[in-house]
């Protein structure tokens, strides 16, 4: 009966210590599942599990890292930021209600619209996706928690600190005021700390976003319940996978852009200054390579919620599962070919515009497929108009209108007319309200009984829906016309004789009606429901695993991790709930007193490993606070405290990793239930941690690629790159750097091999030498540009060379710390020939870093001679 065919690892080489492998019976037979559990044992197991997964009492509550706590904090914080950004919108609407109004000054208005856009995008839309996913994903997958709970907590605290920092700047009148797109030269030359607050505050949050994306991807591919093959995944998981991948490739270009931008702000390196060879267009490219996929990063998860609600409303499985997967994946790809449609008016060649126009039309196809799949499901089913469906229907009505205007603006010549007018304001709010706000609110109504075990009010929901829906249309429908009448966006006032007055007045009225609707919703969400009874376990009659959670919530997610054979297990697998509750399935116990979840293979979800996951801790909060300091102090040019915070942040993270990750287990294998024994420790590609590093480094490599793209961009866009009489980097030092860094890379890889063979001494010697070589290589890289006297403030050419060196050296520093961490691990017994996950992860990091270093050395040492 043992069926591990899909998951056999590579055969270990001679002399290497073998990994522990799963043993026993899989998949379970019906007979085994029917076998009753001894009630006494069942109680004892439940008590142990409950103790392990209990949320910390009293003030220690805030050290919780469990996905249900962190997810709830995260969502509520994002919602609060959304309300704040909404208030800014209302104040702007007041200013615009009549022509030549002086309710807000020009500068204040500019701060408001900059913060409205920035906060809605960076503090609400993207974090909301992450928040909801952290909250829901483990439940969809029958998992106990996310794979890296402390990372979620760290992400949350970073988001909270960064968000409060960025938003509060508006209270002091120093908020960024150059638009949420921060175009240089306006934003680079802006006085005051506004631009820095935007750059550093939001970069900090972007890093947290990427952390969440990494965790969500690993969660989907490694933490599914046994048996949940890729064709049985809930659609939400598909969307999370796609969106996580998109974040990995979309956010890093912006981080690279932020890095260049901040270098110009702080040290006057002229990346965007045309007088010294720079080009403001590079920022626009980097920003929109992020900015357009971002729209879909916001839209897809919300549609994913609809994909969970609709089958429940239609009382049947989704129709066209493959079609929806197609549409999610296809949209994910196509959305990267749209960025220039934000730049249609920048005078690029018509042919180039044509490509983006074409791709912008093509992306309509998968989006349409998505909507038609929903309609098809409803068509085939017997629909029950539950409250969340009302919001989904409203979303479709609004979103199709936004999509249809989207088809219009994707045509470049039409966009030349309406670009940067209120037509676009209308279009984007139709897509975002229809594609994000409505489905999310529908999702809150739908999932509220899941996370609060109470129901929200149907009556208030209807009131809120009709207020929001009509208010929204009253506000934004006329804006199409306002835009066609020629009113540009981002104007703090307008003359009264052009025919815009009453249109604006209507919009303002509509905005307040919308706000009333949102307030009703907020009241319904937040009002105390103490006196209300708990709901039943599966109040909507859904078919997916989240409705298997206990009422009231017991923190452990699933009492036992089930074996899944259907897309809608609660509909199709009789006795599933009963068996889960009885602890009949996997890991029903916590005898070691550790938090655990099952890790399975990526495609067929064959159980591979019982992962020990981290529990409550304060170090995540400290790490976030120190990281915050490292980002926030430079805003005010306070560098010594920033550096101190950076060092403390690194120290805290090291302490966190050392004390809680890749711990040597008490035994290599444990009984996972149903006759299956699973390893308690794995390293390399079977370990979630390895995937975490791999995925993080994909994102990091994208950021680096964006920097290199910058070099080639300058080369095509600027005739004086490099300038005729430029000083070039020293090729000898560059070659030396390449040799040393390549050596360090090789030593790390060899150390992994010899350690596996049991030769700890050689491994330690190599791990001791590798960081020395790495740091020497980094020094040689700096010398390569410093020795010949490349002066980064004089021209963009030396500035790009320096930027590459700085970026590479920062990574070399991290690489050296990781090598030393492994060395220390080996000395203090945390890393042994058998338990070597840290060394695998360090080697993987160095594979990326090694390639980065060689490219950096080649670009600074060789490229000028080739150009």
């Amino acid at each position: 009966m043992t069926d591990f065919a899909g998951s056999l690892p590579e055969r270990p080489r001679a002399g290497e210590i073998e990994d522990a492998m799963p043993q026993g019976i899989y998949p379970p037979t019906e007979e085994m599942l029917n076998e009753p559990v001894d009630p006494e044992l069942r109680e004892a197991q439940a008590a142990r599990l409950r103790a392990v997964w209990a949320e910390p009492p009293g003030w220690r509550y805030w050290s919780a890292v469990n996905n249900s706590e962190v997810g709830a904090w995260y969502s509520l914080t994002a919602f609060a930021f959304m309300l704040a950004a909404g208030v800014l919108a209302l104040l702007m609407r007041v200013q615009l209600s009549v022509p030549e109004n002086d309710f807000l000054s020009a500068d204040r208005f500019n701060q408001f619209f900059t913060m409205h856009g920035s906060a809605m995008m960076f503090l609400f839309a993207v974090p909301m996706f992450e928040a909801i996913s952290i909250l829901l994903l483990p439940a969809f997958l029958g998992a106990r928690d996310m794979p890296f709970p402390r990372l979620s907590a760290y992400g949350y605290w970073s988001f909270l600190i960064g968000g409060i920092f960025v938003l509060s700047s508006i209270l002091f009148g120093v908020a960024p005021n150059s638009g949420w797109f921060m175009y240089p030269p306006l934003a680079t030359e802006a006085e005051g700390p506004g631009s820095d607050i935007w750059l550093l505050g939001l970069s900090f949050i972007e890093v947290a976003s990427i952390a969440a994306a990494v965790e969500l991807i690993v969660g989907v591919i490694k933490c599914r319940p046994p048996g949940m093959r890729i064709n049985l995944m809930p659609l939400y998981a598909w969307y999370v996978l796609v969106v996580g991948g998109m974040i990995l490739f979309a956010f890093p270009p912006l981080i690279a852009g932020d890095f260049l931008f901040e270098m110009q702000r702080s040290f006057d390196w002229p990346f965007f200054d045309p007088e010294r060879g720079g080009d403001p267009m590079l920022w626009q490219h980097l920003f929109w390579i992020f900015g357009h996929p971002e729209v879909y990063i916001i839209f897809l998860p919300s549609i994913a919620i609809a994909a969970m609600v609709i089958p429940t409303a239609a009382r049947r499985p989704i129709v066209g599962y493959s079609w929806i997967v197609l549409s999610a994946v296809g949209t994910g790809f196509l959305s990267f070919g749209l960025w220039v449609h934000h730049m249609f008016t920048t005078g690029l060649p018509s042919m180039s515009l044509g490509f983006f126009s074409a791709a912008s039309e093509a992306v309509v196809i998968p989006t349409g497929v998505q909507l038609f799949a929903f309609v098809a499901t409803l068509l085939v089913g017997r629909v029950r108009m539950i409250q969340p469906m009302l919001w989904i229907a409203g979303a479709v009505a609004i979103f199709t209108a936004g999509g249809l205007t989207g088809i219009m603006v994707a045509l470049a010549p039409f966009d030349w007319q309406v670009h940067d007018t209120y037509f676009i304001v209308a279009h984007l709010h139709y897509t975002l309200f229809g594609g994000m706000v409505f489905p999310i609110i529908g999702g809150v109504y739908y999932f509220y009984p899941f996370f609060a075990k109470k129901k929200m009010s149907d009556r208030l929901g209807k009131v809120s829906f009709w207020l929001t829906f009509t208010g929204f249309n009253i506000c934004f429908m006329p804006m199409h016309l306002t835009g066609l009448q020629g009113m540009p966006r981002r104007v703090f006032t307008y003359p009264g004789d052009i025919g815009w007055d009453w249109l604006n007045m209507i919009s303002t009225l509509g905005a307040f009606v919308t706000a009333a609707g949102i307030l009703v919703f907020a009241w319904d969400l937040l009002r105390s429901k103490k006196d209300q009874p708990f709901t039943e376990r599966n109040p909507w009659g859904g078919g997916t695993l989240e409705w298997a959670h206990d009422v009231p919530d017991l923190g452990w997610g699933a009492r036992s991790v089930p074996y899944i054979t259907s897309r809608y297990p609660l509909w199709d697998q009789p006795k599933l709930l009963e068996r889960m509750d009885a602890g009949r399935f996997y890991i029903p116990d916590a005898p070691e007193g550790l938090r655990e979840t099952v890790v399975t293979s990526a495609v067929d979800a064959v159980p591979q490993h019982v992962a020990r996951i981290t529990g409550p801790a304060w170090c995540t909060l400290w790490a976030a606070a120190f990281t915050g300091g490292a980002f926030i102090f430079p805003t005010f040019h306070m560098y010594p405290p920033a550096i101190l915070c950076g060092v403390l942040a690194i120290a805290t993270v090291i302490w966190w990793l050392w004390t809680s990750t890749a711990q040597v287990p008490e035994a290599p294998m444990k009984d996972a239930g149903l006759g299956l024994r699973l390893p308690t420790y794995v390293s390399g590609p079977r370990a979630p941690g390895w995937w975490g590093v791999f995925i993080t480094m994909l994102g990091d490599a994208t950021a680096y690629a964006s920097l290199i793209f910058g070099v080639f961009f300058y080369w095509t866009a600027r005739p004086d790159f490099p300038p005729d009489n430029a000083t070039h980097a020293d090729p000898a030092f560059a070659a030396l750097a390449a040799a040393l860094l390549g050596g360090s890379w090789a030593m790390t890889r060899i150390a992994r091999g010899v350690n596996r063979q049991g030769d700890r001494r050689t491994a330690r010697v190599l791990l001791g030498l590798a960081p020395v070589a790495a740091l020497a290589g980094g020094a040689a890289l700096v010398l390569a540009v410093w020795w010949p006297g490349l002066s980064p403030a004089t021209h963009v050419y030396p500035a790009t060379m320096w930027a590459i060196v700085v970026w590479t050296c920062a990574h070399i520093g991290v690489g050296a710390i990781m090598q030393l961490y492994c060395l220390a691990g080996s000395i203090f017994g945390k890393l042994t020939p058998r338990y070597d996950a840290d060394l695998w992860n360090t080697t993987l990091f160095w594979h990326f870093l090694g390639v980065t270093c060689l490219i950096s050395a080649a670009v600074i040492g060789l490229l000028p001679r080739v150009l």
Binding site: G6, G227, R229, I230, N231, L232, P317, Y321, S322, W323, V325, L326, V329, G330, F333, L334, F336, G337, P349, S350, M351, S352, L353, G354, F355, S357, A358, A359, E361, A362, I365, P366, I564, T565, S566, R567, A602, V603, D604, T716, A717
Partner: protein, 120 residues
């Protein structure tokens, strides 16, 4: 890493990856030709060649995915059973659909070369 075709997500996304490469090549080629030489014929011929190659690649990927889906064998398009066969057919089906949309996308992206005859 890539794994066997019928159980690999990477093969499923091969067609859109070709689309993405095609897109980057068209854009990069046109940008550099129009910035450096103004020779629009070179730009258009290049796009035509890249597009032809991309369409052939997508057709091959689509054909293999179609075979993996094996629709005419059992006329299954749901793939909702917990079996190796359903997983294989599902990945084939999704890969085939992605090839279809990537093909349309590639044709769309190539079309500017048909209509635009200048670097302006």
């Amino acid at each position: 890493m890539l794994g066997r075709r019928e159980e690999s997500l990477w093969h499923m996304i091969a067609a859109p990856t070709v689309w993405a490469l095609h897109f980057c090549l068209c854009y990069g080629w046109t940008a550099s030709v129009c910035a450096r030489t103004d020779d629009v014929t070179a730009a258009r011929v290049g796009i035509a060649l890249v597009s032809a190659a991309a369409l052939v690649a997508i057709a091959v990927i689509g054909w293999r995915a179609w075979r993996q889906w094996d629709y005419l064998d059992d006329f299954d398009y749901e793939h909702d059973r917990p079996t190796v066969e359903d997983r294989r057919e599902f990945l084939g089906h999704a890969g085939w659909l992605l090839a279809l949309v990537s093909g349309i996308g590639t044709l769309f992206v190539a079309s500017p070369a048909l209509f635009i005859e200048s670097c302006l």
